[in-house]
Symmetry: none
Subunit: 248 residues, 2 copies
């Protein structure tokens, strides 16, 4: 899916932003960059800010007019912060990802970013199927150009990963299997026994002590290694007084 995405920067003023855009793209697995009439390119500052994404800059296609950058594309999306006199269909970056994920698997998709000062002009915006609006704080919605590319690229990456992310749970990479219910119950029995032996359950017990301890330890879903450590600690607590009173 990411191979079908073309990032198109229109009339970019600062070459540093082109470099930062290349870096933002590459970190998210995007590589196709078109530059429409950039003010300064190629430029040392673009190279510097691209860091290890110089290959994206090297392969960038520079054209004179927007039409040339999008001619072969089947879907054109324009990023825009403003509402327009004639309302256009506006989607969020997340909806953009969802939408692209569900498209037929052919055809290039262009995502347009305007210049730093004023964004895309009306002519460019009216070439777009949809407008993509990044939700920003209304008091200061002015994202840096490469920061906007980073968010869009991130949502594209998320959309492309989603299927596999759904399969993989948070604990998919864990090092030990989770404790079974039986292991948990044995731990709780052991814990309760120790709390009685050390005179804690009787003397100072807040109400519903064991209930609170169950909630605490169940919530954290201990793995079997962690339960073994906890059981080991309980056993050491039980052994400690004897060691002290009857040293051998």
């Amino acid at each position: 899916m990411l191979d079908r995405i073309r990032i198109v920067l229109v009339n970019t003023s600062h070459p540093g932003n082109i470099g930062s855009t290349a870096r933002a793209m590459k970190t998210m697995g995007l590589s196709e960059l078109y530059l429409v009439a950039p003010k300064k390119f190629p430029h040392l500052q673009a190279m510097e800010l691209a860091a290890n994404a110089a290959d994206v800059l090297d392969q960038a296609v520079v054209v004179d007019a927007l039409g040339l950058a999008i001619a072969d594309c089947t879907l054109i999306l324009g990023t825009s912060a403003r509402s327009r006199t004639v309302p256009w269909p506006v989607i969020s970056p997340r909806e953009m990802g969802e939408t692209i994920k569900q498209l037929p698997p052919h055809g290039q998709i262009a995502i347009l970013f305007g210049c730093e000062q004023s964004g895309l002009d009306n002519e460019a915006l009216q070439r777009c199927h949809w407008h993509v609006q990044i939700p920003a704080d209304p008091r200061y919605p002015s994202l840096n150009l490469a920061a906007a590319v980073q968010i869009i690229a991130y949502e594209l990456k998320m959309a492309s990963l989603e299927a596999s992310l759904e399969e993989k749970s948070m604990l998919g990479q864990w090092d030990h299997r989770l404790a079974t219910a039986d292991e948990m119950e044995k731990f709780f029995s052991h814990l309760q026994q120790v709390l009685i032996e050390i005179d804690f359950l009787k003397i100072t017990a807040p109400r519903k002590l064991m209930t609170r301890l169950r909630r605490l330890f169940l919530r954290t879903q201990p793995d079997v290694m962690e339960i073994n450590i906890l059981r080991g600690i309980l056993t050491a607590v039980q052994a400690a007084p004897r060691d002290i009173c009857n040293p051998e």
Copy 2:
């Protein structure tokens, strides 16, 4: 929700990244910035790249050590690109947003970002409840610092927009506030002390015992009542041998 978020930059090398971070934050409605031992700050370049987010820089709190930046926080999240020897719970920025949305409505939330060269060190990572990993292309996962902040801030903004549309979650009804980082550290010190006293940490300690115990208890996000119970148990363990050997 966004008022509870504290962005913490640790050992930042380039002042420009501090400025870009301030801008990224403000565009998404975040304002609380802590700087732990920045190499150069204040600095002209930070001001330049902050653009109209100078107020975020002006209000930034500079501290010498990470502990001072997070002591009063009830949830610590560390951004990390690497996998660790002892796996920590890892969530995506989106899962982070979902999680924070469902927390009880009190307590500050710190999100840590390491230095440009190597990210957060192990000590900082082990202070975190969870690690947040931005899904990036494995061939070039190296996001610019402010770009990483932009993505995290964007997901927080998205979550706060969704939260305003949703009803209160189950956890909104929790009975006690969550423990602060400071309270957690005191608990870990106490726990370690007791494990030494009962001869557990020395004799049978599996490798990285304290690391595993930190992970276990941070993951479960204890509330203050639960921490008081755990501290009470530790104190009872310490008292137990004396009660048995020297009954009065």
